[in-house]
Structure formats: C-alpha cells, structure tokens
C-alpha cells in the first residue's frame, strides 16, 4: 500500500521562511500546487516536524519523492530534508528563480500585493513541472 502511495504522491516541502518576503512566496506557491494545480498528486509537511515529530514524519521523504522550496540560499528546507529525512528529488530556490526571470521579490513578508501574484504563479508552475517530471519518470 505504501508503495502505491509513494508512486502517486509527491511531497512539497516549503521552508516557510517567516523572516523574509521570499519565505511568504514559498508558502503561497506551495499551497497553490497543493490546492489548485496538483491537488491529487501532492502532499506536504511542516518542515520543523523533522525535529519535533515522530519517526513517521522523519521518514516523509523516504516515503514520498520530495521537492524542497526555499526562499533564500540558506536552503534550510533542502538541508533539513537531506539531513533529517532523505535527499529531495528537486530543490527550488525562490530568490534564484525570481532573479532568473527578472521578477522583483514582494515588498512585504506579511501580505502579498496583487503584483506579487506573478511571482507566486511562476514558482507554483515550476513546482508543478517538477511534480510532473517525478510522476512521469518515477
């Protein structure tokens, strides 16, 4: 049964970066994938559960192929997932993706402005593409 779930679900792990604006984008983009773009093929976990949770939580990326979504180059989600669970299949760094596409980060970490929707969409599409790649290639 676990193998069946493993084959059809991909874990999306945002850093959530509460201190920075790019952290807010990791949350909104990940939720867009979970709720709208790939609701039937994605799951998530709160990153700190790798420390606070039980064995089941620490096995998350052994159970599911994962995509980490980090706000900055500290790569907290990628590093934690590697150290405390299992290496992610893909790692996305929001600040790098925005730079690559010439999109400015949000001005507030608190509330996203309507202009920030482009950044949310860009990151969410990138996550969804990686989900499809994992599902296609196994």
């Amino acid at each position: 049964m676990l193998e069946l779930i493993k084959a059809i679900k991909v874990g999306v792990i945002p850093c959530n970066g509460e201190e920075i604006c790019e952290g807010t984008l990791t949350r909104f983009a990940s939720r867009k994938v979970l709720d709208k773009l790939r609701p039937d093929s994605t799951v998530t976990i709160c990153l700190p559960l790798f420390i606070a949770g039980e064995k089941g939580e620490r096995n998350f990326s052994k159970t599911f192929p994962t995509i980490t979504v980090d706000g900055c180059n500290k790569r907290c989600s990628q590093i934690s997932t590697e150290r405390l669970s299992s290496p992610p299949r893909f790692s996305i760094v929001v600040s790098d993706v925005l730079k690559e596409h010439g999109i400015a980060p949000p001005e507030s970490r608190r509330i996203l402005a309507s202009k920030d929707q482009a950044a949310v969409d860009l990151i969410a599409d990138e996550i969804a593409r990686k989900v499809d790649e994992i599902l296609k290639n196994g």
């Binding site: 959530n16 509460e18 700190p48 420390i51 907290c76």
Partner: protein, 134 residues
Amino acid sequence: MSRKVIVLPCSGIGKAYGEIGRQAVYELVEDLRPEEATTTCLARLVIDDPEAKALVHDNIVITIDGCTQDCARKCVESTGKKVDSSLRVIEAFKQNRGLKPEGILELGEPGFKLVHGLSQRLSEEVDCLLRKEK
C-alpha cells in the same frame, strides 16, 4: 545592551492556525512592539544556523504554535535553549468561538480578528517578560 524578545511562530502550512500565529507575530514585531520584539525563520534553527541559534540563546524567547506538535517550542529547545514562554494559537479561538478563518493562508476578516486578539496577547506577554528583566 538590553535583551530583545524573539517571537517565533511555527511553520504550519496545513491549517489556518499556522497563518494566524505568523500574522500575529508580524503584527507584534512590525506594529505593536517593533523596538522590543523581532522574529526569525524557524527553519534556520532546524539547520543549526549559528546566527539564528545565537539570537535565541542571547535573548528572551516566546514561541507560538498552531497545533499540539509544538514544533516552534521543540525546535528552540533542540538547540539547548529553554523558551521563556510558549503559547498556542488555539487560545485565540477559545475567546472567539464564532470566528472562522476563510482559508489556510487567506484568513479574511474573521481570521484577522483572531490575529488581532492573539497579537494583543503576545504584546502583553512581551511586556510581562521585559518587566521581569528589570
């Protein structure tokens, strides 16, 4: 130099509780107690980031958790620091039973009423902890 209060929300993303805690912390550190309180990314403690660890070790710490897993408190304590105060978002619901957030990240008006109540509670806690310092 006087110590600051570091207020850490959990990174909850599965339910609205996490966002209520985060928004209450933003309201606290940006509007209510900008001189006395600040925050950092919880995930930095998960990777043992030296700067974030020093920040929590050298200052007063309040954690605010969205569920009974208490991730924020446990992450701080995993670094060897005992938190000075730990709150749960559910406290805000107890005093406002009729209020229901509209979504997980988009809280709407009822959700922000809960945020305002919680940020007030946090600011009282900040004041209380700073009074003990004197």
